[in-house]
Amino acid sequence: MFEANSLAVIFVALMGFSILLYAILDGYDLGVGILLPLTQKDDSDTMIASIGPFWDANETWLVLAIGLLLIAFPAAHSHIFKELYLPTAVLLISLVLRGVAFDFRAKAAFSHKPTWNKVFKAGSLLAAMSQGYMLGMYVMGFEDTLAAYVFSLLSAFGVAAAYAYIGACWLIMKTEGALQVQAVNWAKKTGVLCFIGVVAVSAVNPLINPDVYAKWFAWPTTLYILPLPILCFALFVYSQMQLKLLPAHNDKGCWRPFVAAVIIFALCFFGLAFSFFPYIVPGKLTIWQSAAAPESLSFILWGAIIVVPVIISYTIFSYRVFWGKVQELRYH
């Protein structure tokens, strides 16, 4: 059996892992949705084909993350989502709309396709922005102040830019020709926006949360944690340099911006996690105060230990099946 205190840590780690995977995986497919052009028909088909086999499984990580929060930290779940009630409703409705638009655009009457493309794009954008808004409110401790709303709105655009950025990097990897050139341009622009967003959140977070400030700027912790922002900055620079070289001969290195973006996402996530741990509701509830009964957590943990590696292996299998450029995906 597992001991109660370590169970809380294990579960918050599992939940963090799910959130990070969700942000990366659904991040790129939401990003592709945000970038979807409304005019060029062929491009939009290719772009959507590139995420077709994956989006459903990607969204399941959100269900797992929210599920783990609900199961392991029920008090935190109800606290957070009561505070974020309306943004959550917007998020859910956007996810529903873009999910169904994905299918309807291919199967409904042909004349309706442009409409469903618009729904897909708008749904993707709104879903990304509501997630960003929720992140902003979370970082601001759900304050009811003008500053908090302004910051959350900024964060909404930041997250949308970040998703568009990783989505563009995904397209560079999965497409070729004119669309790939277009994706490189998108990645350059959204990369800069994403960078600004990351800097803004990183600056505001310690300034408004004294606890976070104390954590980051305490000797010698600062020394250990310093490589994180430096590496993050270096990756942004590296990514922009790589983007200048793309598309390259023989498509050399087309995967590099995507890998860089994934690592940037992971670093930002660890930065946030480091800022707030062990609080699950900033400044109010720690993971130990809100954890569910150890007998329940043990029961689900045994399942997770067996099942999660299986999930990861068949997810990898699925990505291998659809490896390579997306043109091969389309069978007409």
């Binding site: 959507i48 084909a49 077709g52 086999p53 994956f54 459903d56 499984a57 969204e59 399941t60 959100l62 269900v63 797992l64 929210i66 599920g67 783990l68 609900l70 199961i71 029920p74 008090a75 779940h77 109800s78 957070i80 989502f81 009561k82 009630y85 309306l86 959550t88 409703a89 859910l92 409705i93 996810l95 529903v96 709309l97 999910g99 169904v100 994905f102 299918d103 309807f104 291919a106 199967k107 409904a108 009457a109 569910a292 009964a293 007998e295 329940s296 029961f299 689900i300 399942g303 099942v307 999660v308 999930i311 068949y314 997810t315 699925s318 099946v321 659809f322 995906l329 069978y331 007409h332």
Partner: protein, 457 residues
């Protein structure tokens, strides 16, 4: 106007009612698809592949709506019913967790290969992916019905300081009403999918489609329905007996029995009157309710008087139960009539095809009515004997709930219109597509299937 409790109830009912429509189709449709694909691998007959290709598209769209509308549920437990998780989260959490871990990922992980991977993996792996998706959908029903049944007939836990703690997980999962509710729901899904397949196939035939595929799928669907309807009636009866044992107040409301009586009549129709505690305009078969429920003409059925104010509202249960049974009986008659006609090697008359088209979504009606019986029948409890619905509700401002509820309702109307429109558009389009000739026949279980007629994206 409405307060938060009522709005939350309406919102949850709207969300879960809309959501369940789609899994009800996909749980069984996935097994139909596995059957089509398996037969194709065995025989190499192109007709199986055509049936597969047509229905996999309908599956994809239905599955997508099911997934995205299901995500809303995982948020609402916390937002609208915070006390639910605080009181029984130790039980509900792991059951939901296992559903996500074992079912959702399995479905979602292999769905990509099932829908888009036919040319990328061998025929065997593709069939296997289809099978795994089918297992995933069924597993999902297993876990969610375990939780729902535990809420109806809780056991295997102990209460400490007003919070439920698990003691025996096997007892929790296999609680008394679980086997009945699970089989009732899985068979309901089978019937819903069977009537959908039959209805859309009939629609294609009516539109002048003379291909083999719709005839074949119509025949299979009618065969399945012919076997499942009697089975469902039998399971439903068992489920009723189980409910009588564990939740007698639910049965009393379903049957409109206000006062405990021996030899209670079966009410075919009546208007229950909650104020007067009696029924008006009764149309009844004497002693029949007692016979069905106790298998004894003079058997005693407990009336609502024994539960005072601790029983569910009567009218919704009474009507919903009759809607469910009525649709079930209609399904029985139509499926047998149709299948016998086919067995005598005669084409179905146009009127019967039209009835089948009209009944395409009859499974939805019966399933929803059945769920209303069991869920409203749980009132005033959320978890029987542990937590009432009233105590579980949130303290969010009613304006916010009203706003989110309105948004959801608009969304659902749009989605339902688009869904029905698309399904029939696809059926019409299928009528126009030419049938491939027999010399294009593809070989079974050989890597890379002929791709001529495949067009997913």
């Amino acid at each position: 106007m409405f307060e938060t409790l009522m709005l939350s109830r309406i919102q949850f009912a709207a969300n879960i009612s809309f959501h369940i429509l789609f899994p009800t189709i996909t749980i069984a449709l996935s097994w139909f698809l596995f059957f089509f694909k398996f037969r194709f691998d065995q025989t190499g007959e192109p007709v199986w592949m055509r049936a597969y290709r047509f229905w996999v598209k309908i599956f994809a769209i239905t599955f997508a709506i099911g997934v995205v509308t299901g995500i809303t549920m995982s948020f609402q437990f916390g937002t609208n019913w915070p006390k639910f998780m605080e009181t029984v989260g130790n039980i509900a959490g792991p059951l939901l967790g296992y559903e996500v871990l074992t079912a959702f990922f399995l479905e979602a992980g292999f769905l990509g290969i099932m829908l888009f991977g036919m040319n990328r993996v061998s025929a065997r792996v593709h069939t296997l992916a289809t099978l795994i998706v089918a297992i995933g959908t069924t597993l999902s029903a297993f876990w969610i019905l375990a939780l729902n049944s535990w809420m109806q007939t809780p056991q295997g836990h102990e209460m400490r300081n007003g919070v439920a703690f698990p003691v025996d997980w096997l007892a929790i999962i296999f609680n008394p009403s679980f086997p009945y509710r699970l089989s009732h729901m899985v068979v309901a899904s089978g019937l819903t999918a069977a009537f959908l397949v039959a209805g859309i196939s009939a629609y294609r035939l009516l539109k002048g489609d003379d291909k083999k595929a719709p005839k074949l799928t119509l025949k299979i669907a009618l065969t399945v329905a012919m076997f499942l309807t009697p089975l469902q009636i039998f399971i439903g009866d068992m489920h009723g007996l189980n409910t009588l044992e564990h939740q007698p107040q639910k049965i009393a409301a379903m049957e409109g029995v206000w006062h405990t009586e021996k030899g209670a009549p079966l009410l075919l129709f009546a208007i229950p009157d909650e104020k007067e505690k009696t029924n008006h305009f009764e149309l009844a078969i004497p002693n029949m309710a007692s016979f069905i429920l106790t298998h004894d003409l003079q058997g005693e059925i407990k009336g609502l008087n024994e539960f005072e104010d601790n029983h569910p509202p009567v009218a919704p249960l009474f009507y919903a139960f009759r809607v469910m049974v009525g649709v079930g009986m209609l399904m029985l008659i139509i499926s047998w009539a149709g299948r016998i006609q086919l067995w005598r090697n005669k084409p179905l008359p146009r009127w019967l095809l039209k009835v089948l088209v009209a009944m395409s979504f009859s499974g939805w009606l019966a399933t929803l009515a059945g769920w209303y019986v069991t869920e409203i029948g749980r009132q005033p409890w959320l978890v029987t004997g542990i937590l009432t619905v009233k105590d579980a509700a949130t303290d969010i401002a009613p304006g916010n709930v009203a706003l989110s509820l309105s948004l959801y309702l608009i969304l659902y109307i749009v989605l339902m219109t688009a869904y029905l429109h698309t399904i029939f558009t696809m059926a019409k389009r299928a009528v126009e597509i030419e049938e491939i000739t027999d010399d294009e026949k593809v070989k079974p279980v050989i890597n890379s299937v002929n791709t001529k007629e495949s067009s997913y994206v």
